[in-house]
């Protein structure tokens, strides 16, 4: 088929093509592309993309390739990419998952870059830097701080003639509040009395009773008395029976997007399972401002159990090929006031004092509320949570399993407590 002439023609063509390709590659050599992954809602995506645009304008030779999803599925994706040594350069992280990534040496220690000034931290308080430290090393930088938050619909409380939630409410006060709303308006007081499934409510409850979810070094559960679990579950079961909160089946099918929470369409007067940085998202869903409130106190509490945490952190993959450019981005992210204005409080109340004061000046209606709420939370918070053990996800899954079985009333709270303890000990002992 091929004559000799044809063959040499093809050969020459191939050579020319591959040469021109490599020339093109050479020409683009000083163009660096960084991958940046985050999870979030639509409003976060839009804000982040705008900040990326601003950054690319300032540094035309650096391109940021955004990779974003919702929360569900994000960690599956990250874990799979970690397995393939293909993590993005910049990874939005949460403190509770960082220890596993650090132990497996997936993340870059940022301390040298802070020391040599690549990242300027003069305007970031050391207590906030502390939130990014894992085992004493600066493995990430907190984008902002958050407090667990519920949200309530003022109009519904007015209509029912009930006092708004306050920071001094006890668990019993809240239960009565939910029941009264249900009696007065025929709607739910809340979908569930606390953030149950992910354990946040239980963490607070345990701390208020002088215990904790994990022990200090994360090798076992941090409480010995199963009665704590039992009481916590009975509290929920009692509310389910009264009809003031969703029953198990309704919870199973309830929407997972914050914008679609029952509180946004008047089917519930409160939502209990969110964080302070979700105010804009949930209010957008409702089409009006929903007000944040703190977790309740325990009537007999031995210590302040409520807490704050870094909303999320930006971390850097150890495999990044362009650490210098990554640090430019982080420096821009944490110090550029204009960028900070765009990001607002969506990733928690920022840690940079200059950014915060600029934000306060031009704060919109939502952000003002968030600033005040975080301020209130910081006055009502105990010590920070220690870093969770790498097996945290499995322990939480075991907790959720016991939780579901109890609220479906397949087992008693006592059996649930025992089952969870056994499962957790087995996971943590491995």
């Amino acid at each position: 088929m091929f004559s000799k002439r044809n063959f040499s023609l093809v050969l020459i063509l191939t050579l020319v093509l591959s040469l021109s390709l490599s020339v093109a590659a050479l020409a683009q050599d000083d163009q660096v592309t960084l991958r940046f992954s985050w999870w979030g809602s639509q409003s976060r995506h839009e804000k982040t993309l705008r900040v990326i645009e601003m950054f690319e304008e300032k540094y035309p030779n650096i391109k940021i390739q955004p990779e974003y999803t919702g929360w569900s599925g994000y960690w599956d994706k990250m874990n799979a990419q970690a397995a393939g040594d293909n993590l993005p350069d910049i990874i939005q992280h949460v403190r509770k998952f960082m220890s596993g990534y650090v132990q497996n040496e997936q993340l870059l220690d940022l301390s040298p870059y802070i020391e040599d000034g690549s990242i300027d931290t003069t305007n970031i308080d050391s207590s906030y830097l502390e939130m990014g430290k894992i085992y004493g090393k600066q493995m990430g930088l907190a984008t902002g701080v958050n407090a667990p938050a519920g949200y309530y619909d003022k109009e519904l409380f007015d209509a029912a003639g009930i006092d708004y939630p306050s920071a001094d409410d006890t668990w019993q006060d809240r239960a009565e509040m939910f029941k009264k709303i249900h009696e007065e308006l025929g709607i739910l007081g809340a979908s569930s009395p606390t953030a149950q499934q992910d354990g946040t409510g239980f963490f607070v409850w345990l701390r208020q009773h002088g215990a904790s979810f994990y022990n200090e070094d994360g090798t076992a559960l941090g409480y010995d008395d199963d009665q704590l679990f039992v009481d916590f579950m009975k509290y929920d079961l009692d509310l389910i029976k009264s009809g003031a909160v969703q029953n198990a089946m309704q919870r199973q099918e309830s929407a997972r997007a914050v914008e679609e929470d029952l509180v946004t369409n008047g089917k519930a007067a409160t939502a209990t399972n969110y964080w302070s940085n979700q105010l804009a998202a949930i209010s957008t869903g409702a089409g009006k401002l929903l007000h944040p409130f703190l977790y309740p106190k325990a009537a007999d509490q031995t210590q302040e159990g409520r807490f704050m945490k870094p909303a999320m952190l930006l971390t850097v993959s150890k495999n990044t090929e362009h650490p210098a450019e990554v640090m430019k981005f982080l420096n821009f992210w944490f110090n550029d006031v204009e960028a900070g204005k765009v990001i607002g409080t969506d990733r928690g109340v920022p840690t940079n004092t200059k950014v915060v004061s600029a934000l306060k000046e031009n704060a919109n209606q939502y952000d003002k509320v968030v600033f005040d709420f975080v301020d209130q939370a910081s006055k009502n918070s105990g010590t920070a949570l220690p870093p969770q053990p790498p097996k945290d996800q499995e322990v939480i899954a075991a907790y959720e399993e016991a939780y579901w079985q109890v609220i479906y009333e397949m087992i008693s709270p006592e059996e649930g407590a025992k089952q969870f303890r056994e499962a957790a000990n087995k996971i943590l002992a491995d």
Binding site: N79, A83, E253, W404
Partner: protein
């Protein structure tokens, strides 16, 4: 003619183990042609398959390095993992109901579309659509909505007076799996097309003969259509069964394995262990177990096939 002799030549020279070089030269072109496929096979099938076998014998935390543990994963799965047995039970339950339901609806519709009527082609295409959509996330989200307590399915039942109170079908421990089974039955498109092709192969003369012998429509179906369709049925059965054992998207999106793990399909459990919890070694072992299990089930069905599958060419 010439080619035939050449081929014979090749065989002969092979038989004698002679002239390997010549043989290789002759076949090199052939290998060159299948090279792209071969590379794809080695890179995307053989290599992942073998590495998962290796990983299944290691303890491999997804973000660390694998360390050899021998058969420990397999022993743990069989002796110390109630979720494994639970997910097997759930998956078998699903397959046992979903496969026949899908095949019956596929066959029923294929019979309906067999004769050319006005718009038959349009309906054939329209009824194929669920198959294209069915595996997607979007349709799973729709399904979630449809069977929720505020969903259209409840509207229908209440309007018809079958039920007084709405219930959450996807939240109910006993019914949740049935929402998945119904979804599976609804995706009958591809077996339907294959049944249609099979039906066209049945000679019209047989029906005429049956009619002359006085067989009614129902008798014709059981005595002529069904026996002659058994090879196609056999094919569809195997294909659909394998597909359903691997069901993932629907169960993952609609119920996440809940409520109370009543819809914890094997693939969902594997994903949870392997990816969500990061136990890649354990997950690989789970994958190999289902592979072996599927092979066994398939072999059993193959063995029984000569009892019920009727090939027309037999005895010719």
């Amino acid at each position: 003619m010439n080619n035939k002799f050449e081929a014979l030549d090749t065989v002969r020279s092979l038989d004698k183990g002679m002239d390997r070089k010549k043989w290789l030269k002759k076949n090199l072109v052939g290998y060159a042609f299948i090279l792209p496929w071969l590379i794809g096979f080695l890179a995307f099938i053989a290599y992942p398959l073998l590495s998962s076998l290796y990983y299944s014998l290691t303890e491999y935390n997804i973000v660390g390095d694998p360390s050899w543990v021998g058969l420990k994963n397999y022993i743990n799965i069989f002796t110390d993992d109630s979720k494994f047995w639970l997910s097997l039970k759930v998956t078998f339950y699903y397959v046992i109901f979903a496969v026949p339901l899908r095949l019956i609806s596929a066959l029923g519709l294929a019979l309906l579309f067999r004769k050319a009527r006005p718009f038959t082609n349009f309906y054939r295409a329209a009824y194929y659509v669920p198959s294209i959509l069915g595996g997607s996330v979007a349709i799973s989200v729709v399904w979630r909505q449809l069977f929720s307590s505020q969903g259209a399915f409840n509207d229908l039942l209440v309007a018809l007076g079958i039920m007084q109170n709405r219930i959450s079908w996807i939240g109910h421990p006993n019914y949740a799996i049935w929402t998945l089974i119904i979804l599976a039955a609804w995706q009958f498109g591809s077996p339907m097309i294959i049944f249609l092709a099979g039906l066209k192969q049945i000679p019209k003369g047989l029906y005429e003969a049956a009619e002359i012998d006085g067989a009614g429509k129902i008798q014709q179906f059981f005595k002529v259509t069904l026996p002659l369709l058994t090879p196609v049925l056999f094919f569809n059965l195997i294909m659909q069964m394998v597909k359903m054992f691997m069901v993932f998207t629907q169960a993952y999106v609609i119920t996440q394995g809940g409520p109370l793990n009543r819809t914890l399909m094997y693939a969902v459990y594997l994903f949870r262990e392997g990816i969500s919890f990061g136990h890649l070694g354990y997950g690989s072992a789970l994958a190999w177990i289902i592979l072996v299990l599927l092979t066994i089930v398939t072999v059993i069905i193959f063995k029984t096939s000569n009892k019920w599958v009727y090939y027309q060419s037999e005895g010719e």
